[in-house]
Subunit: 239 residues, 2 copies
Amino acid sequence: MPDIQVCFSPALFQYQSAPGTNVIVVDVLRATTSIVEAFKNGVNSMIPVETVEEAKALKAKGYIVAAERDGIVLDFADFGNSPDNFSAQNVKGRDIAYSTTNGTKTIQIASGCNSVAIGAFTNISAVCRWLEQMDGDVCVLCAGWKNKFNLEDSVYAGAVASRLLATGRFSTDCDSAKAAIMLWDTYKDDIIGFVNKSAQKKRLQKNGLDSCIDYCLSHDKTDVLPVFCNGRLIDSKYL
Amino acid sequence: MPDIQVCFSPALFQYQSAPGTNVIVVDVLRATTSIVEAFKNGVNSMIPVETVEEAKALKAKGYIVAAERDGIVLDFADFGNSPDNFSAQNVKGRDIAYSTTNGTKTIQIASGCNSVAIGAFTNISAVCRWLEQMDGDVCVLCAGWKNKFNLEDSVYAGAVASRLLATGRFSTDCDSAKAAIMLWDTYKDDIIGFVNKSAQKKRLQKNGLDSCIDYCLSHDKTDVLPVFCNGRLIDSKYL
C-alpha cells in the first residue's frame, strides 16, 4: 500500500524523500496558490527560478517576470506574487518566469522525484485525484518560511493526507503526516481562524497583502494541476 | 517579553536559533528521559558523544559507556538507553559516556547557545522553573528521529511552551511553537494514546523495549535539571 509522507520544510526533504515518490509542493500563502491561479487563467508555462539573477536574465530575454522577496515585488518584475496578479489578462498564452522567497526553491528541490505537482486549496481535489491515479508513495512537501515550519502549509498537508487515507488505498507511518492530519482534523472547521495565528498572516498584513488569504484558503476553484517537467511548470493535461 | 520557539528537528536548528537562547533538548523516547533518570540517581557527570568511535575511546580510558544505535545496545557498551538502565547501582557517583541515535548529537548542536538543559516529562516542572528564572528567549529543540519530526518530542515541546505562556511572562511568534501547543492542548488528556501513534513506539516494540513508555510519559519524578557545560552534562545545582 502506498505510503503518505509529509515534509514540513525543504531542509528536511533529503531525510524523507525517495526517488520514486510523487511530490506535491505547497506554499499556500502565496506561491503555489498563484501558480494554480495562473494555470486556471491559461498561462502557457512557468519557469520557477531560484535566484534574483536568473529572473533578471529571463527578463532580459523577453520573458514576463513575476518575482518577490519577503512579500515585496522586485523592481524589475512585471508583477508580484498575489493570486490576483495572475489574471487572464496578465498570463493567458504566455510563458512566465517566477521567483518567490520560498516556493520556487522548494519546487526545484523536489525535481529528482517521480513526479512533482503544485498543490493549493484552490485545486485540492485535482491534487488528490492525481495522487490516487499515480499509484506510488506520496510526499506533501511544505515550502515553509525560510526553511522553518509554517502552519498554513502543514495544515494543507494534513488535508491532503486525510483525504488519501480515507480512500483506504494509502497508509502512513510518518509522524509528520500524523501530526498534520491531527491539526487538520482539529481545525478544519475554522481554517481561517487557524491561519490567522500564522506568522505569514502578520507578514502579509504588514505589507497590505493579506486580502488574498480568504481566497487562498477556498477549495476547488479549478481542476487544473500544474506539474514540473524539464525545468518548467506545465498543465498536467499536456503530459 | 522573551520569545518561545520550538524546533522540530536538529536539522532546522540553524534556521531558528540565536546565540542568546536558552535551549531545552528533548528526546522523550528515550535519551533525555534516561539522562534525567541518571541524575535523579546520582550520576556525577555524563559526556554525550556523537560517534561510536568516541564512545569506544572513552571506554578504553575507563569510562562506563551507555550507547545504542537504532535501539540496539552497542556490543562494547556497559548498557543501553532505557531509563531503568540508569539505576543508582549503575550510575551513582560515576562519570558516564553516553551515545544514542538522536539525542546526544542534538545536545552538541545546541552547545553554542546561552544555556543548554535536558528536558523530559519526568522533570518538566524543573525545566519550566529554570526557563522562567533564566529570563531570556527559549527554544525547545526536539531530537526527532534521524532529523525527521517526531510526535513525542513535539508534544513535549507543546507542554513546555504552553506552561511558559500561561505565566504571562513569555510570548511566541513561532509557528512550530503554536502547532506544538495545539497538539498538546488537543491530546494532553490522552498522551499515551497519542504517543502510541508514533513511529518510535513501533520501533521500541519491535525490539521489546516499549515497556518504558509509560514511565517516559509520567510527570515530575524528580526536580533535577541536567545542564550541558564544557562538554559535560552536570546537575544544574553545581552551576
